[in-house]
Every structure is written in structure tokens, then in C-alpha cells.
């Protein structure tokens, strides 16, 4: 199986970091993995996206044009990419920041006020990981074991508090709407 995932939002929202967490999950699960950032004269507040592919086959092109899964963390990203999602695909949106809705009936859209939930739970900046929690719950592309391994791999061991916060954010997303 191959999952092509596109994560998009503003610079500074942790789009690349969330992609890295997904990629490490794939690595922990011993799958084929690629992670490709959009790069350019980017800056905080500008747009930013990254392509992640998790697969059981060797990965050819690392660029994701028609994602199976789109995570949209701002309005421009949603408008730019929602029509590109494959039929049967899933879109995860941060409803605190995205107002538009898709008119497509061949995809499933999951909404979560991730930025608001992050603020309320003292996890400012953790909206990206809350969304990942929801993606885990609704797609099953990542196991609980792998997400924990991935987060402890990325967060420097000198900052154990960050592991705890990220795992808290995962569980907020995962349990949302349950």
C-alpha cells in the first residue's frame, strides 16, 4: 500500500515538522519513506507545504501532486489543494483557520479546531500535532507504537517535556469527536 500525503499551511505552523513525524513513523514501521519540502524564498507567515510518501514499494517520484491525504492548516492551502485530492481521499482541516468548505462528494473531510484546542490546552503551536492525532484515528496509516517512537526520536532527549506535550496533542486529536 502507498499513502501520498500533502501537508500545507503557513510557515511557522510546524508543517515540515509534522511531515517529519509522519516520515519517522514510516521509518519505525520499516516502510519506504520520502519527505520533500517546498523550498523557496520562504518566510514565517508565507505558505509552506511538504510531500510525504509512505509505501511498501520503493518510492519513485517523491513529489505528491494528487494526495490520498491532505492536511490543510490555512485557507490558501485548502483552496489550492482540495481539488487535487484523489477520489476517495481524505482532507483534514484546521477549522479555526479554514473557513471554506469543499463541494466535492467523492472525498471525506474531517474538521477540527486544532489551533483553538491547542490554545485551550496550553499547547500553543501544537495544532499540527493535534491534526496528526486525528489523521492517525481516521486513516490507520500509523500505529500508536510508531507515533510514540517517532516523537521520541525527533524531540531532543534534553527536552522531555516536549515529548509529553506532543503525545498530549496526539491524544487530543485522536479522541476528538469520539
Amino acid at each position: 500500500m502507498t499513502s501520498e500525503i500533502l501537508l500545507a499551511g503557513f510557515g511557522g505552523q510546524g508543517i515540515l515538522f509534522a511531515g517529519k513525524v509522519l516520515a519517522y513513523c514510516g521509518l519505525a514501521a520499516e516502510r519506504e519513506v520520502s519527505w520533500l519540502p517546498s523550498y523557496g524564498p520562504e518566510m514565517r507567515g508565507g505558505t509552506c507545504n511538504c510531500s510525504v510518501i509512505l509505501s511498501d514499494e520503493p518510492i519513485g517520484a517523491p513529489t505528491v501532486y494528487d494526495p490520498d491525504i491532505l492536511m490543510a492548516m490555512n485557507e490558501p492551502s485548502f483552496l489550492k489543494f482540495s481539488d487535487k485530492v484523489k477520489a476517495g481521499g481524505k482532507i483534514f482541516i484546521d477549522s479555526t483557520l479554514v473557513d471554506s468548505r469543499s463541494s466535492r462528494d467523492d472525498i471525506t473531510v474531517y474538521e477540527i479546531p486544532a489551533t483553538q484546542l491547542a490554545e485551550e490546552n496550553g499547547l500553543t503551536g501544537g495544532a499540527n500535532i493535534i491534526l496528526l492525532g486525528l489523521i492517525i484515528a481516521k486513516t490507520g496509516i500509523i500505529s500508536d507504537k510508531d507515533i510514540e517512537a517517532a516523537i521520541s526520536k525527533i524531540v531532543p532527549p534534553t527536552k522531555p517535556k516536549l515529548i509529553e506535550n506532543n503525545m498530549k496533542a496526539i491524544s487530543i486529536g485522536r479522541n476528538y469527536g469520539c
Binding site: Y24, L27, V33, S34, W35, G60, P62, Y65
Partner: protein, 355 residues
């Protein structure tokens, strides 16, 4: 073997592999999309007893490479397309002086200052005309993060073995993407370099590293000698990968990032019953001429896919002496071809064959 795989950017994996291969001096100058190499070297080199210098320009950096290489030290510089143009004078001097070194080009769109997105439009510069004069350099074309590491190691070894500058010829996509990579535990074999200028202590004749020959016959002799060595390199170091070529009607060919896209397209074409295969050169000089000739037994047409206006396609035509149609598809200026576009080309060629 250290089997634990890490996620790294291509640029970082290349830098780490260089250090593990015994690279002791790195001279760089920042330019997107290869700056991670310099950043990695700045962090790591002081910890492994190496030297990192951010030079005042690309020209200064390549001439620092000349100096370090003259002492037999494994050394490297890296840049992206416009910076490599600046280095080309130094590259010619390195080749003329038979100095081993590694030069990395993480290509971006051109000409001129161009853009910063991935490109492969420096093929001619790498494979044909790295500078003035009669010479070649070894040109390695990695296609994954693992190969960024593996071919870096091979580049250092081969540069020493053949006393030639070696280029790692990548692009912004390979430099920026992350994939799992493992580094084999190696203790690099450092060959004797009796030609190196390391001080003679009045015990032997002094060595001279130089590319100036004012007597034409002497210069010609040195060029003849170098080209004889190139023939050995062609026999020993021509590298390529075949994918589904055994029965292929259509041979798609691409290197580096384009090869990944072409491979996706070939897989999709096979799923539609089209007999497509892929030849992926891993060395662009020497060029894997024989791979294209071998494919003639089944191939009815060739298709070169590049992020350029069509450069390697010339070498494919030469390899098979134009005995089959050789098509070209590409994008340029930083636009990356998509697998579906390449598939469309394959389909078009295939329907032409049926007629």
C-alpha cells in the same frame, strides 16, 4: 555495517558520507539549494579534526581545493549551478594538474542567476565541458538519498585512484528531500600519493603540481597520457541501472531525480500493458554507452526525460548511432516533470509504434 537507518536530507547524507570517507578539508560558499552541505560541514568538521572554511567566493573555494588536493588531502567543495560556473576555471586547473578532489553540484534552474528550484540543465557543463581544455571529470548522478551517500564515498575513492576531479551531480530535489539512509562502517583506504607536495625533507626530489606546459609536445604528451587513463576509467567505472528493460519496446532513460519520476511512469505504463523499461545512468562520464546498445535487441524507440531542454538526449543518440528514434521530454527552469506527463509521452510513442 551500521544498519540503523536515519532520516536525512540528501545534502546532509552526502556531507556525512564525505566525512566518513576521509574528507579532511571542506571549502564552501552558501547558495540554495545546497547550503545544508556547508552547514553540516561547519558543525561536524571541527569535531573530526577536519577543516571547514567558508571562503569569500566560489572561486576562492575551488582554489583552496587545489591547494589542499596538492598535498594529497581528501577535500571537497560544493555549490549550485551559478557557483559551479565560477568554479570551472579551477576545475580545469585541477584536471590539468591531475589532482583528485570532489566537487558537488546540487543543480538549480538557469541560465544566469536563474532560480532556486531543481534542474538538470548543467549536463553539458558536467559531462562535456567542465572548463577549458581537453579533459573529463568523473560525474556521479545519485538518484536517492542513499546514493547521495554511497556515490560520495565512491567519488573520493575513484578520484584518488584515477587522479581526477570527481563531481557529485545532484539537483535541488535530491538535496532537499529526506529518505532513510544507512552508513556502512568504512575505514577508507588511503592510497599512497608519491606525487603529493608534503615536504621532501631534503630526502627526495621536490614534487611539483602544475598545469603549465610551454612546450607543445610536452603538453600533448600529458594530454595523451590522461586520455589513456580515461580509457581505463571507461572500462572500470561505467555505472548504470536497468529496470524492466529485458523485453522493452520503449527504453525510457533518465538520471537523478528525473529517473525517479521516469520509473514511476514506466511502472504505470507496464500496468497498461506497454512494454517500457528504464536505463538509469549512475555515471554520466563515463557514459554507459553499452547499456543503450544492449537494449537495441528489443527497443523500437528511446525517450530521454530530463529537467532541461534536452542535453543527455544527444549522448543517447550517439550511443545507438541514431539507429532508433530518440525522443525527448523535459521541463526546465525549476519545473519538475510529473509521472503522468512522462506516461503520456510513453503512450504517444507506443501508439506511433503500432502504426
Amino acid at each position: 555495517m551500521s544498519q540503523e537507518k536515519k532520516l536525512m536530507k540528501g545534502n546532509e547524507a552526502l556531507a556525512e558520507a564525505a566525512i566518513r570517507s576521509g574528507c579532511k578539508c571542506y571549502f564552501g560558499y552558501p547558495i540554495t539549494p545546497q547550503t545544508e552541505i556547508a552547514a553540516y560541514m561547519a558543525k561536524r568538521m571541527p569535531k573530526v579534526g577536519g577543516v571547514f572554511v567558508q571562503a569569500e567566493s566560489e572561486i576562492a573555494a575551488i582554489n583552496m581545493v587545489y591547494g589542499a588536493a596538492s598535498t594529497g588531502t581528501r577535500c571537497m567543495t560544493s555549490s549550485s549551478s551559478p557557483g559551479i560556473s565560477l568554479k570551472s576555471e579551477g576545475i580545469s586547473y585541477l584536471a590539468g594538474s591531475d589532482l583528485p578532489c570532489v566537487i558537488v553540484n546540487v543543480q538549480r534552474g538557469g541560465p544566469g542567476l536563474g532560480g532556486i528550484q531543481p534542474s538538470q540543465s548543467d549536463y553539458y557543463m558536467a559531462a562535456k565541458a567542465g572548463g577549458h581544455g581537453d579533459f573529463h571529470m568523473l560525474v556521479f548522478a545519485p538518484s536517492s538519498v542513499q546514493e547521495m551517500a554511497d556515490l560520495a564515498a565512491l567519488a573520493f575513492e575513484s578520484a584518488d585512484k584515477y587522479r581526477m576531479p570527481a563531481m557529485i551531480f545532484a539537483d535541488g530535489l535530491l538535496g532537499q528531500m529526506m529518505e532513510p539512509v544507512a552508513f556502512p562502517e568504512i575505514s577508507p583506504a588511503m592510497p599512497e600519493k608519491p606525487w603529493a607536495c608534503t615536504g621532501h625533507g631534503n630526502k627526495r626530489e621536490h614534487n611539483i603540481v602544475n598545469s603549465l606546459y610551454l612546450v607543445p609536445e610536452e603538453l600533448e604528451r600529458s594530454n595523451f597520457e590522461r586520455f589513456a587513463r580515461y580509457e581505463t576509467v571507461k572500462k572500470e567505472l561505467t555505472l548504470y541501472d536497468n529496470f524492466l528493460t529485458e523485453d522493452a519496446d520503449i527504453i525510457v532513460t533518465a538520471y537523478g531525480a528525473s529517473a525517479r519520476i521516469a520509473r514511476s511512469a514506466v511502472t504505470a505504463a507496464r500496468a497498461q500493458g506497454i512494454k517500457a523499461g528504464l536505463i538509469r545512468p549512475k555515471t554520466l562520464w563515463p557514459f554507459p554507452v553499452q547499456a543503450y546498445r544492449d537494449a537495441l535487441s528489443t527497443a523500437k524507440a528511446y525517450l530521454s526525460v530530463e529537467m532541461s531542454m534536452g542535453q543527455m538526449v544527444d549522448d543517447v543518440r550517439l550511443a545507438i548511432e541514431c539507429s532508433r528514434p530518440v525522443h525527448f521530454f523535459g521541463h526546465t527552469g525549476g519545473v519538475v516533470p510529473t509521472p503522468s506527463e512522462v506516461l503520456e509521452q510513453i503512450r504517444k510513442i507506443n501508439s506511433g509504434l503500432a502504426k
